[in-house]
């Protein structure tokens, strides 16, 4: 594997935030203000977020499922190919 890519993976390893990160987030979540925008606007914004997130997520799931199918077929194919080679080797 390319040395630079190895080094990049090392350099970009995940790091943890500060130890009190979670506590700060939880405290802020408890303090968050109530929405004052009109209900219809909040609903429309929520629908937009859900729809776009849902579409993107569907694509993500589809790609994951496709990858699994291709893995399955490659693995099956490689086993059958090996069987064929053994058959050919065994026959006169």
């Amino acid at each position: 594997m390319d040395w630079l890519e190895d080094e990049l993976r090392q350099a970009l390893r995940r790091k943890d935030p500060s130890p009190d990160f979670e506590a700060r987030v939880m405290a802020a979540a408890r303090r968050r203000p109530v929405l004052t925008m009109p209900r219809w606007l909040a609903a429309a914004a929520a629908l937009l977020v859900i729809t776009s997130a849902g579409l993107g997520y569907r694509y993500h799931r589809g790609q994951a499922a496709k990858a699994q199918v291709m893995t399955a077929m490659r693995l099956t194919g490689s086993k059958l190919s090996r069987i064929q080679m053994q058959i050919k080797a065994a026959r006169p």
């Binding site: 080094e7 970009l12 943890d16 990160f21």
Partner: protein, 173 residues
């Protein structure tokens, strides 16, 4: 590894999601902005967004996907709002210890600083590729840009980084 899909019930464990994904969210932002304090602020905002939109989350895997997408968006937004992009003059980059030394303890920091000098889009492509191990198609979907653009950014950024490192004597060609 593709994770097992589990249904996230309403009122799900937000704290557990935060524990699972905090390093990912923080690191995407940190490696993009190369500013720890700002990265913590933005990561906090990302999780607060998750808290507000918890009902939209369909599963644990969806939560991860959602968090990553929002972290990418908020990082790029923050970068655009900055008055000045983090410019690191090459002279300020720490000198490597010696030519030909296989393990350069400063190399990681050198690389992170060089990545911070890349334009936004290729910079995020590099972070998603080498921190998150996403393939070009996944990156394209996350950033809503063509796959060909992702591949082109990867190729050019790697060439640029390699050239800068070689010129600094970090690696010999």
């Amino acid at each position: 590894m593709t994770e097992l899909e589990t249904v996230v019930q309403p009122g799900c464990d937000f704290a557990a999601l935060m524990r699972e994904h905090r390093a990912m969210v923080f690191s995407v932002v940190y490696h993009f902005l190369h500013d720890r304090d700002t990265a913590e602020e933005i990561a906090q905002d990302v999780f607060l967004s998750l808290h507000r939109n918890l009902r939209a989350i369909q599963s644990a895997a969806h939560a991860g996907f959602w968090l990553r997408k929002v972290a990418v968006q908020r990082s790029i937004d923050a970068s655009r709002k900055r008055m000045r992009r983090p410019q690191v003059a090459l002279e300020d980059v720490a000198e490597p210890v010696a030519r030909g030394v296989p393990a350069d303890p400063m190399l990681g920091e050198t690389l992170r600083r060089l990545i911070a000098t890349l334009p936004e889009t290729p910079r995020m492509v590099i972070v998603l590729r080498y921190q998150e191990d996403l393939d070009p198609t996944e990156i394209a979907n996350l950033m809503a840009i063509p796959v060909s653009t992702v591949k082109s950014h990867l190729q050019r950024s790697l060439a640029l980084l390699r050239e800068k490192l070689v010129r600094r004597g970090v690696r010999e060609e």
